[in-house]
């Protein structure tokens, strides 16, 4: 996750409290999604950004995960994400996200 976005997530978490923040990711691969999810839970795994060593433990979901899909308007989801849902390897993304959440999420 780039340094700017790390800073945004950190600032929002300070402003609203970690229990009120949910991060939604759109990375195209499980590995990239996992790195971003790890960044907002256990801290920046590259140790380069503002979240290096900062364990926010936020709730984090990928836009193709069923739990996110069920929570949003089906029409909008189809319009905006439907196409990507067809081409992405949803299973591996879901399993990576579950791993990260169960290991590092505090909420």
């Amino acid at each position: 996750m780039d340094l700017e976005n790390q800073k945004r997530v950190k600032d929002f978490t300070e402003q609203f409290g970690g229990e009120n923040v949910v991060v939604v990711l759109g990375a195209a691969e499980a590995e990239a999604a996992g790195l971003a999810a790890e960044t907002v839970t256990n801290g920046d795994p590259t140790f380069a950004g503002p979240l290096a060593g900062v364990q926010l433990g936020l709730r984090v979901f990928h836009a193709v995960e069923p739990s996110f899909k069920e929570a949003v308007d089906a029409g909008v989801f189809d319009d905006q994400i439907g196409m990507m849902e067809m081409v992405l390897d949803v299973d591996s993304i879901v399993s990576e996200m579950n791993n990260i959440r169960s290991e590092f999420s505090k909420y």
Binding site: L3, E31, P45, T46, F47, A48, A52
Partner: protein
């Protein structure tokens, strides 16, 4: 008392900024910064990072002697037992900086040093003979495997333990040979290896051939005023909107574009697809990376015969040596077939 470690990182890993901050001068901070946090944890009770030195990659490489002397002084003040630089992964200038400063610390202060790089980092080839370089993945995402490997070797160096073979301790082979008694004589080992090879099984050579990448210079162009000259770039210049979608890093392809109707390149018609550096000035005037304007002048003045109709382009950012060689092998044939006698290669 735990051993003292000084750590060197660049502006990016210090969280100061990317390319736009690469010209910052060396500075020192007490304790850990960035990846030092992970290293310090992995080193445990036995060693502690007492200070972190930060320097911009451009600054270091453009002011080599001065930067080296300044950083050496900073390291000296902390009287460390070990010096760690990086890891630099596949960042070229960072790798060269890590290798340079680690070598200098080792030679001047006579303490153990280590760094970490991706095998294709230019710094790896330059410094693998001088210092231990842990072999890492090619991006910072590999930090989680780089840190344990680096701290393991760091602790061994600190305790003065014997360092294993490159594979055992995950460092890039330094080309050092050591005598030892083998269980079987050479002829038997050679035949065993040959049998494995014939059967198509995996075998391991006892004497890996060095991987030389030397390019013999071609003979000079006899008469430039009659030569057809082509432009080739790894600076990512493409027609506006990047029609072939050449990737901004780790390019998997190159482009071939017609410039016969261009007297120069402008922001209207061309741009750069290259990531990893500030593209503003290349986008304002793409001639800065691919000098079509100057070559047209030389053409008019009769200094060169003509500028080739096509230019070839890719993005050098993180692109593997393997891919680059593949691209060049392909288009070099076309260039030859088109009667091009000289090529000017430009980068970012």
């Amino acid at each position: 008392m735990s051993k003292r470690v000084v750590h060197y990182i660049n502006q990016f890993f210090a969280g100061i900024g990317g390319e736009e901050k690469a010209d910052i001068k060396p500075e020192v901070r007490e304790g850990v910064v960035g990846p030092g946090m992970a290293l310090n944890t992995a080193l445990g009770q036995e060693a502690e990072i007492v200070a972190t030195i930060i320097c911009g990659d451009s600054y270091f490489n453009e002011n080599l002697e001065e930067a080296k002397a300044t950083v050496l002084d900073m390291v000296k003040k902390y009287n460390p037992d070990l010096f760690i630089a990086g890891p630099a992964f596949n960042a070229g200038r960072y790798g060269v900086a890590c290798g340079t400063i680690a070598t200098a610390v080792k030679e001047e202060l006579n303490i153990p040093v280590l760094t970490g790089m991706y095998i294709e980092n230019p710094g790896a080839d330059m410094f693998k003979k001088h210092v231990y370089i842990i072999e890492t993945g090619n991006s910072a995402a590999a930090m989680r495997t780089a840190v344990p490997a680096m701290s393991k070797l760091a602790l061994k160096l600190l305790k003065g333990e014997a360092i294993g073979e490159p594979k055992e301790d995950n460092y890039i082979s330094r080309g050092i040979r050591k005598n030892f008694f083998a269980n079987e004589r050479g002829s038997k080992r050679a035949v065993d290896m040959l049998l494995k090879k014939i059967k198509g099984e995996a075998f391991e050579t006892e004497y890996p051939m060095p991987d030389f990448d030397r390019v013999e210079p071609n003979p000079a162009v006899v008469d430039l005023s009659k030569a057809k000259v082509a432009l080739v770039t790894s600076g990512g210049i493409v027609p506006k909107h990047n029609p072939d979608k050449i990737e901004s890093s780790s390019a998997s392809k190159y482009g071939k574009y017609d410039i016969s109707n261009f007297m120069e390149l402008t922001s209207e018609d061309h741009e750069t697809a290259h990531g990893g550096y500030d593209p503003v000035y290349a986008n304002i005037d793409p001639d800065r990376v691919l000098p079509v304007d100057v070559l047209r002048d030389l053409e008019k003045e009769g200094k060169i015969g003509e500028l080739h109709k096509y230019f070839y382009t890719t993005v050098g950012n993180g692109t593997s040596v393997g891919n680059s060689k593949g691209f060049a092998a392909e288009f070099a044939k076309e260039l030859k077939a088109d009667g091009v006698q000289a090529v000017i290669l430009t980068s970012t």
